[in-house]
């Protein structure tokens, strides 16, 4: 039985765990404020908040309920637009939206209100802005300027509140009073384990886009909360990351952030906040898209995967470079899960960069993406790990290019030669994300971009072309 709190009400249901949270909310609970816009996480009209108990606090995140399995609500607090309404008056977020004419047709509006509310609840410990909060909400009427103004007003209000505790938010009319008792009520729930099914799902951000029809009438095996797959740790200069870690968890992890000059700027290019709150690393790897952002990111980190066999409890370790075998084929045997993702800490003499170009900069699939990690010593590249996506059947680790670069001096000539080797390693095809000629050109540009970013004084476009 699935148990959770929906707004102010305890839900106990035997409905199949594979049903989408959206359908449960609208069809089983008749809460019609959460809208259906696209059913693939690309519009945000179905945004709800998920509250997860951690110690004595609840962390709230916004998600798109259309691609989230009901089973993952087990033990959580799910908040829809109805759950943040005050009696007979607009709450602070709603008032800011109204004051700025930020609602026109009204269809996307509840999603924006919910996302902004999530921001208000998170702003003190999350490194996101009010604009990030609505990165997954599409509005076709307003052109966003009025919504941005509302966002600024909300931010100002939030910044005035000392600790953004639930009590503060209730007092400042962001939330109704019942939120106060939710942590205790969640603790009191006697959560039972859920039935299993044939299909394994983490948070479902990809599977529900493709197979909602098949999943929604079934019980599924949910693995996102498996302790074996959780956690980020740094031991002996090596990062160990559980495969069901979400992109948001990476973004909010301090140790992980320290590795990169500007992790936020990289990860903000990946999907929307709603989906970053759900999408797992392991999920992105087994989705096996040649353009998978996290695959490209971790390939360049020279990552190892620990695979765990659920049946015989055996582990094996492989290099991530060898994981993807062919288009949508990967080295994962029956009963095996990706358990841990590990890579060596980035040292002082190392550089990392991630690049992505898509039709729309945010919440879009890349035309080409690329990452690079190099170890340098006196202007010599000691070790190179470059990857590029969208140009081959698999997320491409540029083995030959990397070998070529090892031991070479960092000069425009070296980079130009390396780029030519890269062109031999890739074989893009023309599709809706661009022609093969464009993808080759873009791959070159992004390869150059790494070096221009790392060595702005040494490289310019003119000396590379």
């Amino acid at each position: 039985m699935i148990q959770f709190i929906l707004n102010n009400e305890i839900i106990e249901t035997e409905v199949k765990t594979g049903l989408t949270l959206l359908d449960f909310i609208r069809d089983y609970q008749q809460l019609k404020g959460t809208k259906i816009g696209c059913r693939e996480g690309d519009c945000g009209a179905c945004t709800v908040l998920v509250g997860t108990l951690k110690d004595d606090k609840i962390l709230y995140h916004n998600i798109t309920s259309c691609i989230s399995p009901l089973g993952n609500a087990n033990g959580k607090h799910i908040v829809t637009i109805e759950g943040i309404n005050l009696e007979n008056e607009l709450n602070t977020v709603q008032k800011a939206m109204k004051d700025n004419f930020a609602t026109q047709c009204g269809f996307c509006t509840p999603g924006f209100v919910v996302s902004f509310t999530g921001y208000a609840m998170n702003s003190c410990y999350s490194n996101t802005t009010e604009k990030d909060a609505i990165s997954g909400n599409i509005c076709r009427c307003t052109g966003y300027k009025s919504i941005e103004k509302a966002g600024t007003q909300i931010k100002e209000k939030v910044d005035q509140i000392a600790y953004n505790s639930i009590n503060d938010l209730i007092e400042n009319k962001f939330l109704p009073k019942y939120f106060k008792d939710i942590p205790q009520r969640l603790k009191n729930l006697k959560i039972s384990s859920l039935p299993k099914g044939e299909i394994i799902v983490a948070n479902g951000t990809d599977l529900y886009v493709r197979y909602e029809d098949k999943l929604s009438s079934k019980n599924i095996t949910l693995i996102a909360e498996k302790p074996l797959l959780k956690g980020i740790s740094l031991k002996n200069n090596t990062f160990q990351i559980g495969a069901s870690t979400t992109v948001t968890e990476l973004l909010e992890n301090q140790e992980f952030n320290k590795q990169f000059n500007d992790l936020k700027s990289f990860l903000k290019l990946i999907s929307s906040q709603q989906i970053r709150n759900m999408g797992t690393l392991g999920g992105n790897f087994v989705n096996a898209s040649p353009i998978g952002d996290m695959s490209i990111f971790f390939l360049a980190l020279d990552t190892k995967l620990t695979l765990f066999n659920e049946e015989n409890k055996q582990k094996r370790e492989i290099s991530f470079q060898n994981f993807h075998l062919d288009y949508k084929k990967f080295d994962l045997k029956k009963d095996e899960l990706i358990a841990t993702i590990s890579f060596k800490e980035i040292q002082e003499n190392e550089l990392f960069n991630f690049e992505k170009v898509s039709k729309r900069t945010h919440l879009d699939i890349a035309s080409v993406n690329s990452a690079g990690r190099i170890k340098t010593n006196n202007n010599i590249i000691e070790e190179a790990h470059f990857s590029v996506g969208g140009v081959a059947a698999i997320p491409k680790y540029l083995l030959q290019t990397n070998l070529f670069l090892s031991g070479k001096e960092i000069t425009p000539n070296t980079i130009k030669k390396a780029e030519q080797i890269m062109q031999k390693e890739i074989a893009p095809i023309s599709d809706v994300r661009g022609s093969n000629i464009y993808k080759r050109l873009l791959a070159r540009q992004l390869f150059f971009a790494h070096f221009i970013k790392w060595f702005p004084n040494q490289f310019s476009l003119t000396n590379l072309l």
Binding site: G33, F101, Q104, G106, K131, G143, E148, S216, V357
Partner: protein, 751 residues
């Protein structure tokens, strides 16, 4: 005044079609559509699908008791294909089942055999093969042939502007409920309730009075629900006619994207003559409109392309021709701007090209040729109360174009990885349905005996705030407080024979009708009040729910006045009709005075281009816009910003793609991208033009829905300008949208 729906919108309490709590016996519909773009239907086998438990009936053309015809302008479109299919997504059958899931399962079991015929996907191909919707249309002014002979310079070129998906957040849908005696009530997400009613009656073979269409609001329309909301409503009605049970049909996003038409792609060619003094002497253009497989609204859209082919410029010699080309794509349809944007893109391209070849700034040509008072449009209307120059000067002066330009110049000198570009985009857009007989509306106003007021009009609320404006007209005219007025749903039994909510004209037409109805009521009530107070009628006025005599509070309240009027058996309801005066157009001569007035404006757009990656950001759009005397500035600003974003989307990232077999490739939100919060211009500044306003507009507040979309065209030319800064050798291409792909290819193109 804030949008009157704000409270329920923000609380998720506004009801859209899919949110209606349905009757328990409701059935669910799903379309089985053509998997091929062109062919003869050899056979369709429904047996397996019909056998699925829970499938009630699968409807086909055989079940139609009236006519199998939904074409509005030209009767060339079947509701369900009978013998041939003409596009992928063309409805063939309608599965009605106990749930959507069951219907989906059944759909997969339908077997169809189609003998494929050649597929046409582009307008050019259609032209070559002589495949047209109707006869071409041409507008002529002066004599281009002679003018070209005397022109110092002549330039020719070709342009392409792609289609655009409406992407209303609420997909198409309808809920049909049987009433007694075979009557049917349709709750439809449509911009054209009368079109739904009329077409349903025709297909069902029943009189129009048996069909009631009710619309509370739309989750966005943008033209996509003007004509193309109709088929889905008719399908549910056919099912109700047979089954006598409620039927609900909400299209899922993929079906909506695949089966419905979009903004028309245009392939065009131009010839422009210019003299040394930079006066445009002559302009010729041929517009090839990709109309899709049926007429839909294409002929009217083609016509508007001609109306706006010279945009804000006076050109003494014009010859423009448009051909509506029949292809095997879903019938393309109305989309905010209605063919106008496609026309303007061509003239702006022509001027850009000429300026480039002449080695001058495009601005010089634009400025020299702006429309002036008394100039003639190519369709014979004489331009009056022209604000073209006013808007141009307001924009360039108030926003200090000189400084903007020098800042950009400096930036471009100092930076190699990033380049900035600027553009100016003037607009002139005619207001009225160009089909004169459509310019009318009615309003039904009831004053209830307690003094509260209900207003019904033919206007459909779809986010544009028309109901808020109607409420403003009503309470201001009656002299009562806004809370006394309620806007009713748009319903064909209360307001009949309406034109669709379209052409930016809805607030004008319906507002004038509300104004008329309220004026009649208030005049009548003043007589009652005068009698009660023993004063002359002329001395009486009503403000804030109180009767005033010669400007002094009389203590007679609105409520008491209404109670007395009831006792005196004075009529408290009024139904007023408004038809736009003075407009006319003669299609045989292609001359007349089709527009009540024009809306003007000028936008300055600046972009920053990332020359490594080919991506760009819009730094700002600064607009001087002609609102007339805006009756609701907050709502009107929202219309400008929203239209601008849509125009920018059309010109930059929104890329419709069909393969050569007529299959939509941009078939999901993962492959069709509309602007998000990060791609909106970093700043949008809008200043209202100082004007006298226009009496043909409601309370002198000009129509605002469509015109600002065309400011978005400026983003294309600003990007092009920035590319030129990086790669002066790049050949100018007029091939929208300017996606990062095209930008990068142009940045590194060798010429």
């Amino acid at each position: 005044m804030k949008n009157i729906d704000s409270f329920t919108h923000l609380r998720g309490e506004s009801i859209f079609v899919d949110d209606i709590i349905t009757r328990q016996d409701t059935l669910f519909g799903l379309t089985f559509d053509s998997p091929k773009a062109h062919g003869k239907i050899i056979s369709v086998n429904y047996a397996k699908a019909e056998a699925v438990p829970g499938v009630i009936k699968i409807f086909t053309y055989k079940d139609i008791l009236g006519e199998n015809q939904i074409g509005g302008i030209i009767p060339d479109e079947e509701l369900w294909a009978e013998k041939e299919v003409h596009f992928i997504g063309q409805p063939i059958a309608f599965i009605v089942a106990k749930s959507e899931k069951i219907a989906k399962k059944a759909k997969q079991l339908i077997e169809i055999e189609i003998e494929e015929l050649p597929v046409i996907t582009t307008a050019k191909e259609a032209k070559e093969k002589g495949s047209f919707i109707n006869a071409p249309r041409s507008f002529n002014l002066g004599n281009t042939e002679n003018a070209f002979k005397n022109s110092d310079f002549i330039f020719t070129g070709e342009t392409f502007s792609n289609g655009q998906e409406h992407l209303y957040l609420e997909t198409q849908g309808c809920y049909a409920i049987p009433q007694e005696n075979g009557n049917i009530k349709l709750i439809s997400s449509t911009q054209g309730p009368t079109a739904v009613q009329k077409t349903t009656a025709k297909v069902l073979g029943v009189p129009m009075h048996k069909i009631e269409v009710d619309v509370t609001r739309l989750g966005g329309g943008f033209g996509g629900k003007e004509d193309q909301a109709t088929p889905w409503a008719v399908m549910t009605a056919v099912a109700v006619q047979h089954l006598k049970k409620p039927v609900k049909y909400i299209l899922n996003r993929h079906d909506d994207l695949r089966m419905t038409g979009k903004r028309h792609p245009y392939q065009s060619s131009f010839k422009i003559g210019i003299n040394k003094d930079l006066k445009i002497t002559a302009f010729e253009a041929e517009f090839l409109q990709n109309s899709g497989a049926a007429a839909d609204l294409s002929p009217a859209i083609a016509e508007r392309t001609l109306f706006h082919a010279t945009n804000s410029y006076f050109i003494p010699n014009v010859q423009t021709t448009v051909l509506s080309c029949k292809t095997n794509l879903p019938p393309n349809t109305a989309f905010r701007g209605f063919g106008g944007p496609q026309g303007m893109f061509v003239i702006e391209s022509a001027i850009t090209y000429a300026a480039d070849k002449l080695g001058i700034n495009k601005k010089e040509i634009q400025e020299k040729n702006l429309l002036k008072e008394g100039d003639s449009f190519s369709y014979g209307q004489i331009a009056k109360q022209v604000e073209a120059l006013n808007s141009w000067e307001t924009a360039t002066t108030n926003f200090d174009l000189k400084t903007l330009k020098s800042t950009v110049q400096k930036f471009n000198q100092e930076n190699t990885l990033y380049k900035k570009g600027l553009s100016l985009m003037p607009i002139t857009f005619g207001i009225s349905f160009t089909n004169t007989p459509m310019n009318h509306a009615r309003a039904l106003v009831h004053i209830y005996q307690d003094g509260s007021v209900g207003v019904s009009t033919g206007a459909v609320e779809m986010g544009q705030g028309v109901n808020t404006k109607m409420l403003q007209v009503a309470y201001q005219t009656l002299g009562i407080s806004p809370d006394k007025v309620k806007l009713e749903t748009t319903n064909t039994t209360r307001v009949a024979n309406t034109s669709p909510t379209a052409a930016s004209a809805t607030a004008d037409l319906n507002g004038k009708a509300v104004l008329k109805a309220c004026t009649l009521l208030i005049e009548r009530l003043k007589v009652v009040a005068a009698k009660m107070l023993s004063v002359a009628t002329e001395e009486v006025s009503i403000t804030e729910n109180v009767v005033f005599v010669n400007g002094k509070n009389s203590d007679l309240s609105w409520e008491k006045l209404i109670a007395e009027a009831m006792l005196q058996r004075v009529a408290l309801s009024e139904n007023a009709h408004y038809a736009t005066p003075k407009i006319h157009f003669d299609k045989s001569k292609e001359k007349g005075h089709p527009f009540a007035y024009h809306v003007y404006g000028t936008a300055i757009t600046q972009v920053t281009l990332d020359c490594i990656r080919g991506t760009y950001e819009i730094d700002f759009v600064k607009i001087a816009h002609d609102f007339g005397k805006s009756m609701n500035f907050g709502i009107d600003i929202g219309q400008v910003e929203g239209a601008l974003a849509q125009g920018i989307g059309w010109m930059t990232m929104e890329e419709i793609a069909y393969d050569k077999n007529g299959r939509l490739l941009s078939n999901a939100l993962s492959t069709y991208k509309v602007p998000d919060v990060f791609s909106a211009p970093k700043s949008v500044e809008i200043i209202p033009l100082k004007t006298k306003g226009n009496d043909m507009a409601i309370l002198k507040s000009k129509a605002v829905g469509e015109p600002p979309l065309m400011y978005g065209i400026g983003s294309y030319f600003a990007i092009q300008d920035a590319i030129k800064q990086f790669n002066p050798n790049a050949e100018l291409k007029f091939h929208s949208p300017y996606t990062p792909e095209k930008v990068l290819m142009d940045l590194y193109a060798e010429n």
